[in-house]
Amino acid sequence: MILLNAGALALLALAGGIVLLYFLRARSRRVEVSALFLWEGLRSDPRSRAARLRRRIEPLLLVQLLVLALMTFALAQPVLRGLRPHLSGMAIVLDASASMRTRTESEKTHYDLAREKGLEFLNQFPSTPVTILQLSRASQVLVPLTEDHDEARRALSGSQPTWFGDGSAEALQGLLASQGGLATFERVILLTDRSLEPSLPGLEQVIFGGGENLAIIAFTVREDEAGGGSTAFVKIRNDTAAYQERLVRVSDGANSAVLSALLPPGDTQGYALPFPGSRGPSFTATIEPGDAFSVDDSRTFSLQRSLERRVRWIGNPNRYLEAALAAAVPITLVPADDPDPADLIVAYNAQLPPETSGNILLVHAGLEGLITIGDEVQAGKLSVAIPGDPLLGGVDPLDFRVRTTPQVALPDAGTTVFTLGEATFLYRLEEEDRKIVLIAPDLLQSNLPLTVDFPLLVRNVLEAFSPLPAAITYAWSIVGEPIQLDGYGTAVELVDPSGRKLALSSGADSFIPQVPGVYTLQTERGTYPLAVNVDPAESEPAGEVLLSDAADAVKEKAQTLFPIWPYLAGLGFLALLFEAGLYHGWHWRRVQ
């Protein structure tokens, strides 16, 4: 045993003071009696003076001296010289992929278990140089090779799993190479929930299992060709050993569609959910109730289009019409010469060129070679030509008052929905590359903008145009994989699912998402939702549980100093508590 601070033993001299105080206290003992006359005049007993010293050495004094001795030795910092397990180097590799967030029956995640096991390895090899690594699609070195186990413990305890997919053997090899290569380490221990295939030579794998899982492994949404809704496609895999009944809910933030699913064990089922009235462009699919791995219980999907409708306005401005459009959907007005495609072309008091395509709303406007606006005539009696037409849903046209209306030349292929005597009021036409709705009267010659039915009419017109330009792609974006931004125009701002703005370098044409959810990309062309999900491979069932026995691989031992002073201090503290209890016990009995 070695004393690191032998000078502290001088404190033992305090024992003399304790003994002195003890006898001084004993001398002042006071006893009450009923009758002093029985004691008066008695001779003090000289022999008892010496005997008193022996008798007064009570357990209390002995315990106090013991406390002093223990505390003094603790301050002297004694350590024992001994042999401890020792390796030339050890790498503890934590699988930080998203699947390590799976919760086991003990309410701990796989990552929690991996951390505990890692700390166990650190304790077993206290003097071994160690490095702590995190393996995932974005692998990193948590602690470079060091003998400072306190730092390693701190890093290990403070680390968290990522949302990325599994790391590869090549990635692990790269990590190890950055710390001196595989040969540097006598033991390389991978703490994971899925076996690394292919493995590395000498790699020990500790695999954590537990936690049953149902996963949404695919989710996409197709807008219906006829417009007015969409269909969601959800594929769910049951990786448990029992039949599972779940609710599958698809939501676009405002509306939702639900179905009940019964999944046989080990089976994968696909479901198509009709979703009438959905607007998108961002959707979430969830299975309820959730399970041990909640990440794949919810998936997101976004149509690759702007949240706002890009409206190209041609002709005179009209704030009533503009307000009615904005009330139905968020709109962005783009200049007439903007080269990018628009979701809607609105022409008011104008004539469009014949090649105009897309969704076209004509208000007192024409399209060259197809629709011609003629002279104004007195408006006739209002009359519904096609009762129940979707353009008139919720609209009471008999409230409209029109002074004059133009004579209009229209192709026969279209449908006149509403008339003013002989003249057309509302007309629609669908061609291969365009949809056209015509409101013939000039808004200023009618009371339309002042009626409550006008915004409803405009909303119906927009519904008739849905779906607006189809999504570019339905592919999933995965956490950790770059997302190309060049198809959206010049990026202005990117906000992650938690609402935090992400820094975008100028000219950046991609970014790598770090968490799952819906990102919001703001470009000069509009605002786009970008759905990002965790790699579906993370939902694969965990591997067989395999725990490595750390003690088996101890190859050599090294001399170490084992501190015993914390134990002495602890014992001293306990003895102090015992002494206090003893004293108060006696005192209490004396009072009684």
């Binding site: 001398r27 003992r29 006071r30 002093l36 029985l38 003090s44 007993d45 005997a51 008193r52």
Partner: protein
């Protein structure tokens, strides 16, 4: 606080009653014989008939045989006034349990015995003078009254037996069976009171309550010994020698007290507080002729 006496203890007292020496002059009907003739089941004597006597008590057999008209007389049974004088000076708070607690339990037991025997019982606490007393009365309501006084007692002050006894004599109007419960650790100062009590015709029983530590002290070493009532003190180094001196002195004191009381035929009982109260009552008080 723990009750002074429990029901089980009281049940075990139910077969006991006080023995009275001679005939007493009680005021109310009771179970103890009186010097006066009266009406009871116990025959006393014959006497000549005088006009006005109740014909029911004429013994017609005697009239037939002796041709004399005699009437039977009976023992007049009266109640027994019992006074319990309880020392509540500060010396009674010493001991484990405190002497006062033991004395209060004894007083409660004696009061119960008296009241159960249809006697009147009064309680007279005292220090160096008589404290507010409970006058003798019949019935178990008196028991509750006495217990209410005894339960929370807090000894305080000095002792003066003489003065307390004289004040008692002045306060009470009739001779009684008097129980004096005290530690009696005072150097003299009780003789005059006892003499005057006996002179009035009271029957006295003395119970000396002491702590075992007072009989056989265990203290050792350098101590300051302080009298609780006066705060006077002596400093001593106590060892075997000092303790044997103490024992001799205590024996002499107790011997003198015992001798004084025996000369006057006053029953005396030493009651260390480690002796069960039941044992004191069932063994010592019965053996001493106080109870039967």
């Amino acid at each position: 606080m723990e009750p002074l006496i429990d029901e089980a203890f009281l049940k075990r007292l139910s077969n006991l009653k006080f023995i009275v020496k001679g005939r007493r002059k009680g005021r109310l009907a009771g179970v103890h014989p009186s010097p006066r003739a009266g009406v009871s089941l116990e025959f006393a004597d014959y006497r000549d008939y005088t006009p006005g006597d109740d014909f029911r008590y004429v013994d017609w057999n005697i009239v037939g045989r002796l041709d004399r008209v005699l009437v039977k007389t009976f023992v007049h049974e009266v109640d027994l006034p019992i006074a319990i004088l309880l020392d509540l000076s500060s010396s009674m708070r010493l001991g484990d349990p405190p002497k006062a607690r033991y004395a209060a339990r004894l007083a409660a037991a004696l009061a119960y015995l008296g009241l159960r025997g249809l006697d009147r019982v009064g309680l007279y606490p005292f220090t160096d003078h008589l404290l507010p007393a409970i006058a003798p009365r019949h019935g178990m309501r008196q028991m509750a009254h006495i217990l209410r006084v005894l339960q929370p007692i807090t000894p305080a002050g000095k002792t003066s037996l003489d003065r307390a006894l004289i004040e008692y004599i002045e306060h009470s109007r009739e001779s009684s069976l008097v129980f004096l419960i005290s530690d009696l650790l005072c150097k003299g100062g009780y003789e005059e009171g006892i003499e005057r009590l006996l002179h009035r015709g009271d029957e006295l029983v003395v119970v000396q309550v002491v702590d075992p530590e007072e009989l056989r002290p265990t203290l050792r070493g350098s101590v300051r010994i302080e009298e609780v009532e006066t705060a006077r003190h002596v400093d001593l180094t106590v060892g075997e020698g000092a303790l044997s001196q103490y024992a001799r002195r205590l024996d002499a004191y107790l011997g003198a007290l015992r001798g004084y009381l025996a000369d006057r035929r006053i029953p005396y009982f030493l009651a260390p507080t480690d002796q069960p109260l039941e044992r004191l009552i069932h063994e010592h008080l019965r053996a001493g002729g106080v109870l039967q």
